[in-house]
Symmetry: C2
Subunit: 479 residues, 2 copies
């Protein structure tokens, strides 16, 4: 039996009309009632354009209030938002718009010119919509948890972008799983430095509406703006990726964060242990987590009580979720499988990808990991990043972790290179913190890594290739 709930924004505006929903770093503040009003107005203007129940509508925007209005407006109409990464090329965007059957595109004002080159018939900037008349519309008063809310593309392991379908239920359950792990406090304020077109930003925006909790929204990641918000703005939780933690700790220096900051939720891949130890020394509450677009954000998180004891672990599956490792033969490392009502029901019209990835409700993540004797997950690597050298499995993140433990190194990326003798060998790309030679690095690794894991080549670079959510893209490491 499908459950329905009241429309989440209407309900929260009803329960906490004057409570802050969104704060921006320019001082803008929007209450839940204002967010409902503006989103419903937006919906009636979209109705004027012909957008209706079942329409698929692209959204191309950086983090800003009109983007959230657009997302909520589509939900009021029963239309589906296709959230687009602003860093993509027009070819990539066209592929996603077509694949998702999007017939409209809504864009941030600043992106309209770029968007006008895209192959969608109807393209409107947020300001275009602002001046439209409102047309009477029947706005949804309830949300069916099985109905499609958004589609968001992920490259996955195969390299072909696939549209991850998120239902209202996926987000609802994600919010519940997170609350059961982190607790719910009326004083919470969650900082979003990551894009809303990625699942981390979107899911936090929805948690805000479900919990009645303000978000502090940054248009984009900026270490100084994040630092300022954490120090001065009463932020209690922030979602980040590894690189951001590194830079935040640098800026923090010898200072410490206010005690209200109770959780720095770290996603986006395995974190170097040296970094986690550095955070621990400074009493910075970094919690590792594990999740992906398909799981509507984190699905495994290290709980506050275990954060210190299980450093390096991503924790246990959230309350509504399950986790298992599919191992081969006698290896304890294997593919991570997850299950739970926050997991997508599948990729948009990708029958074969769905059959491959989903078995009896379990999603095969393509990631590698193991469970320790207490059942805590350690994520070893993305399977596609695995380097196989002379029959040995080499996990780039392990080597990167060791390298970043060297104080002269700021960060490192490791990938595999074809090799006649070994099949593949690891090679390393280094961003220096201070002067260091390759000889010094090699010597440092002697005692710390097995011979076969030691990179065969080293390259100094100014920065590492990262994707829009700041994740290291190892297959773009080259020299």
């Amino acid at each position: 039996m499908t459950d329905t709930i009241p429309h989440w924004l209407t309900k929260q505006a009803d329960l906490s009309p004057d409570h802050p929903a969104i704060e921006m770093n320019d001082g803008t503040m929007v209450t839940f009632n204002e967010l409902r009003e503006s989103s419903q107005r937006f919906a009636r203007k979209l109705t004027y354009l012909g957008i209706e129940k079942g329409s698929h509508v692209g959204i191309l925007s950086t983090n800003q209030i009109p983007m959230l209005n657009a997302i909520h407006a589509l939900s009021y109409l029963g239309a589906v938002g296709v959230l687009l990464n602003t860093r993509l090329t027009n070819d990539e965007l066209n592929y996603q718009l077509k694949d998702a059957n999007a017939t409209f595109l809504l864009t941030a004002d600043s992106l309209k010119e770029q968007a006008s080159m895209l192959q969608v018939e109807k393209i409107h900037s947020f300001s275009d919509i602002d001046v439209l008349p409102e047309k009477k519309a029947i706005l949804e008063t309830e949300l069916n948890l099985d109905a499609i809310f958004t589609i968001m593309y992920t490259s996955g392991t195969t390299g072909f972008p696939k549209g991850v379908v998120h239902t209202y239920g996926n987000h609802w359950w994600s919010a519940m799983g997170s609350a059961l792990n982190l607790g719910l406090d009326k004083r919470d304020k969650w900082l979003i430095p990551l894009p809303i077109f990625h699942v981390s930003g979107l899911s936090t925006s929805i948690k805000s509406v479900i919990y009645g909790m303000p978000i502090y929204l940054l248009e984009k990641f900026d270490v100084k703006a994040v630092h300022y918000a954490l120090m001065e703005k009463g932020v209690t939780i922030v979602s980040v990726v590894t690189m951001m933690v590194q830079r935040l700790l640098d800026v923090l220096g010898k200072a410490s964060y206010p005690k209200e900051l109770r959780c720095i939720l770290l996603g986006g891949g395995p974190a170097p242990k040296a970094l986690l130890e550095r955070a621990k020394e400074k009493n910075v509450p970094v919690f590792q987590s594990y999740g992906m677009t398909e799981t509507a954000s984190q699905i495994v998180t290290l709980s506050p009580t275990d954060a210190l004891e299980k450093l390096g672990s991503a924790g246990k599956a959230l309350f509504p979720a399950q986790l298992k490792i599919e191992t081969q033969a006698d290896d304890s490392i294997g593919e991570i499988l997850v299950k739970g009502p926050m997991v997508t029901k599948g990729y948009y019209h990708k029958q074969s990808a769905n059959e491959e990835s989903f078995q009896a409700g379990w999603l095969a993540t393509g990631d590698l990991g193991y469970l320790d004797e207490d059942g805590y997950l350690y994520v070893v690597d993305r399977r596609k990043d695995l380097i196989i050298s002379g029959g040995e499995n080499i996990y780039p993140s392990e080597i990167e972790g060791v390298l970043s433990g060297m104080k002269q190194i700021k960060e490192a990326g490791v990938t595999g290179k074809s090799d006649d003798k070994w099949g593949q060998v690891p090679i390393a790309f280094i961003v220096k913190e201070m002067d260091v030679t390759i000889e010094e690095i090699k010597e440092y690794l002697q005692t710390r890594l097995a011979k076969y894991k030691q990179p065969k080549e080293f390259y100094f670079v100014n920065d590492l290739p990262r994707n829009a959510s700041n994740k290291l893209v190892r297959n773009k490491l080259n020299h």
Copy 2:
């Protein structure tokens, strides 16, 4: 699409094995891991008895750990618990056991003798089960939210007891709704002074498992034991009925509760405003709520932030729930209708009652109320004629039905009378068919009605007040 979650007790024992799950006032403490172990052992012993998936099993017990073991054990087997009120007569219990198709009965040791008179083939006390061997059983690892967890009887408006079916989902959503209202704090400890065979006690026991929160369990309500727990045992939340608040405030005198006590959740009917004001004066955090067996506990609650401003209101519908008033003509008072995934899907095999009570997902509660200009619910009359005595619902029609079963009685009308100790007590108005004494009537009722349902006063009258359509007008019953 039906959602499944991991078995809640297994999952919590996995997440917080050593965290307290149950504390009793004799000092007993049980962790979540111990609760899982003992419940799974219990399940294997029940398997030895022949209890299996789909079995309906009566549970007749006061609040105690083996009762919770029994409830969880049945869920591990996919069997259905039929929770019985220990105050009922054997006739009443037999009716419920038969109606619910219960083929087994598990009882507290102290109730086994009484239970042995009941018409169920297989009756076992908790101690009987304790000494049984365990039989290998396939224990459920997941809970399907649509599957039946328990059946609990309520007399409803017609006077005929009906089995309210609670699914796992009903309890899950009730727990989520409550958490979104009250917040979730790792330091929470919820005191249960109300019976687990009622929905209040049962739902808190399940919240405990879902939240990873200890309950402080009293075998029965005892004002001194509750007061002691609130003062000394770190209790943060307690569920009570009006009569208990009155007595607690008396005992509290000029003292005040520790600040950890953040919520006294008041259910079981409208509270006198004088009482709420008295609590407010003493800074005692009483939150009115509204709910019933059919809603798996509270569905409308006054949130902490509104508690003072909206004294006398039951608040707003919990986040996943909806509320409306069905008014006649220009009256602002009307019947209260509720909807949400915590609301029962229906009464056990009562097709016509279900059709009458449920319309398009809305449950017609039979209660009267109105919404103020801000949308806050005020309950005017808890079902028109319901008598609430010491937190127990007494339905006049049920007592009238039993009275009219006596051949000397032509007809009877029952109404409530204010009572200092119990809030209300039932009193009866009798039209004789032939000669009969009050003593004979009292004797007749001894075996047929629970003590608390037996009228405290009897009046012989020539006829009963009826309206134009010949319906009994109970509020005109007087002497």
